[in-house]
Point group: C2
Chain length 459, copies 2
């Protein structure tokens, strides 16, 4: 008998899972239906700021595989512009709405995968749902922004929130020639970096002409009729022609909650086990809508990132295809580039580490991406967070010029294996003058952190 | 009472050790004398090809710290142009020759560190010791090459050996405008890479106009009186104005051997324990002249690399300064760039793995350094070598455009921790479109290798 897998959400997690399930079981054994609210499948949401910023020419470039390709090559019945509006876990049916034709119908399932992604944070403020205000979550969002820019030919933009997306969008708007105000509630941009590393990011933004308003609350968005006029903030009105929300995203678990599928009280993400099963029989979850285990804090987390969506989708899909796979958790690794500065982080920051119950010691070093004498060597800062006494690596952060940020991956591999900084400083990393000082920045960071651990013992 | 540490060799290992020993014990407790045959201390030998190739302007750029700086800042009595010619381990004295004044004298020690480095391989062939033939080991060697190039204004160069140094020197000679022939005994350049990855390197060399003669033996170097004329090879004479030896280097353990300090029969390097002690009381060794433990092959190795010299020197120095440190071994990690192609390797190649008693399976993948749609994304190849059945990572190799080679560090960290490729494929590595596809090349390599391990089980 043919079993039926229904997937809700056709981006990274949903389509990775569908593909993997198909690899495990052919069309005779497993029918696969995917419902996707938007027009696209398997797209790079992370690429949207670069599409807006004219680094990437074409929307189609951001689509890894189209719905038709999934249908033709993998016999996956992808139905776009179709929104799941309810789940009956007892009857094992999903209620869906065909957004173009306006009709609703029920689809039955044997196994259901929730891959509903994340929703951009929208504070409950006046005017935020009005015209000219945009999130950056889907390609349709990106298209809406571009259509608005074409239509209203703006001069000024306000970006709310100075996290990854906010910074990337602020830069994209500057590239397009707009005056950009960036409003951030906290005392620095990029709060996923420790405060001592954030300065270089703020300087770079300043150098590009972005006006950064820190410790500033947004009070609302003001319109004149249908026309956007300004953003009201705690430091006054910022006149603008377009508003971009860069406040990050939270798990979109509405469907799960309504269906009685448990979500984590702290994260708002669907609770899953290591195989991506929810607590309801026959229901699975993967990607941004699900919780993940953070391997260093040892707590559940919700992190909206394509890497995690792909990996958890793959694990769910292997299991749904009759195989066995587990997802071992995350480290909170992330990189970006804003205004020419590369930024990377993994594991816990200093404060995070304290909150997680560790006693951290830290070391911050100034070094270079290449041999000091190499013509285009760039400066970089490395901060390493280690546990008192044991010296266990807890996290690392890097900020610097070209060639800085991917070094975070080596820290991530060390962190994954619960290495101490003393062990790490001896690892046989590569060296050649065009790529590294003879002690790679990773090793220098580990050495200085080990010195700090020893000094702390003496002190 | 003041103890006396004598160090023979003032480059990376010797000076790292001297510095560390000084950190551990002040001048009242420990007198430190360093004998160095050449003019320089602590220089970047790896930078010499780039000095010749005019990427680096000045010899002084390659010197990390001068003898005078060691004397002034760390009270280390560095005596350059002073060659150690014999050791009496019973009397605990070193016989040295002052090369400029021609006199010899004995220096007594309580502890002796041998950091005599490596000597470039010079096959025993006619003419090889004649004028116009150069090794590339010390800054003095580099200066000798440059002086020769200035004096004879050459048109043609022959490089013997297509390893790291040979390739880098061939490129440097092309940059200077010479016609370059590169002669290599084996069937491909860069034999530290598996054969299937070497093709791209050969293509890149060809693209730069380097004439590569593979499977070609050098029979001798021919002179007309004092003038270099040609290199005689198994495929005929190659006329030339300068010959560079790029045949790699072997441990320079002559002093140790003559003093009865045991060297490894396979490596020719001084046998040391994890603290860098030789088998003779009071005698230590570090850097290129010493053996290292290879963590994957589980055999002793001799690898002439600044990274290892710095690390083993540091370990020796901590111990000599009254502390405790051990050196955990190497992976054989190395990177370089030749003719625009980045190359990296760590662990064992396919053949190495078989020789070490492993049953390897491999996977080679074509991927990109950045998101596929990113404007200047470059292609790269990743080969992963894993153990049959267990899936344990044994080695990895990468070849590709800008941004490829430092990824080998992540493999190195995984290899260090004896991860399986199944574990590795889930590691939380970073992603952003300017830096990586959503599955980083490291993860794609691990995934395909795990597929290969599973297919091998089925097969």
């Amino acid at each position: 008998m043919t079993e039926r897998l229904v997937v809700v959400g056709g981006d990274a997690a949903g389509m990775s899972a569908a593909s993997q399930a198909r690899r495990g079981r052919g069309p005779d054994a497993l029918g696969i239906v995917v419902f996707e609210r938007g027009h696209d499948t398997s797209y790079s949401a992370c690429g949207i700021p670069y599409w807006i910023g004219e680094v990437v020419d074409d929307r189609a470039d951001l689509v890894v595989r189209t719905p038709q390709e999934f249908r033709d090559r993998q016999a996956i019945d992808v139905r776009t512009r179709t929104e799941a509006v309810g789940v009956d876990t007892a009857a094992r049916t999903v209620r869906v709405r065909d957004l173009d034709r306006g009709r609703e119908y029920d689809e039955s399932y044997d196994q259901l995968l929730l891959a509903t992604g994340a929703a951009p944070r929208r504070p409950d403020l006046p005017g935020l749902d009005g015209p000219g205000v945009f999130g950056v979550q889907t390609l349709d969002d990106g298209q809406a922004i571009l259509d608005h820019l074409d239509a209203c030919r703006p001069r000024r933009a306000v970006v709310i929130g100075a996290g990854y997306i906010g910074l990337e969008m602020a830069e994209a708007m500057v590239v397009r020639g707009y005056e950009v105000d960036l409003v951030e509630r906290s005392d620095r941009p990029m709060t996923t970096l420790d405060a001592d590393l954030g300065g270089r990011v703020a300087d770079a933004m300043d150098g590009m002409g972005i006006r950064l308003h820190l410790e500033t609350d947004v009070q609302g968005v003001m319109h004149d009729g249908d026309r956007l006029r300004a953003v009201a903030t705690s430091v006054g009105e910022l006149p603008t022609d377009v508003v971009v929300l860069g406040l990050g995203a939270t798990p979109d678990a509405r469907l799960a909650v309504e269906a009685g599928v448990p979500v984590g009280p702290e994260t708002g993400g669907v609770v899953v086990d290591v195989r991506q099963r929810t607590r309801v029989d026959g229901v699975w979850a993967a990607g941004d809508c699900a919780e993940v285990h953070h391997r260093v804090s040892r707590a559940p987390a919700a992190i909206a990132l394509g890497t995690i969506a792909n990996k958890t989708g793959r694990v769910a899909g292997i299991n749904l295809g009759g195989g066995y796979a587990t997802f071992p958790g995350v480290l909170g690794t992330a990189v970006t580039k804003v205004c020419g500065v590369e930024i990377g982080r993994t594991g816990l920051g200093e404060r995070d580490a304290e909150r997680a119950g560790y006693a951290p010691v830290t070391a911050t070093v100034q070094t270079t991406t290449k041999a000091g004498y190499w013509p285009d060597t760039a400066s970089m800062e490395v901060k390493v967070i280690a546990e008192r006494r044991s010296g266990r690596l807890l996290g690392a952060q890097v900020v610097g010029g070209a060639g800085s940020c991917k070094r975070i991956d080596t820290f991530a591999a060390a962190l994954w294996n619960e290495m101490t900084v003393e062990e790490l400083l001896n690892v046989d990393l590569s060296y050649a003058p065009p790529f590294s000082p003879v002690w790679d920045p990773v090793l220098i960071g580990a050495r200085k952190a080990w010195d700090a651990v020893l000094a702390d013992l003496d002190g």
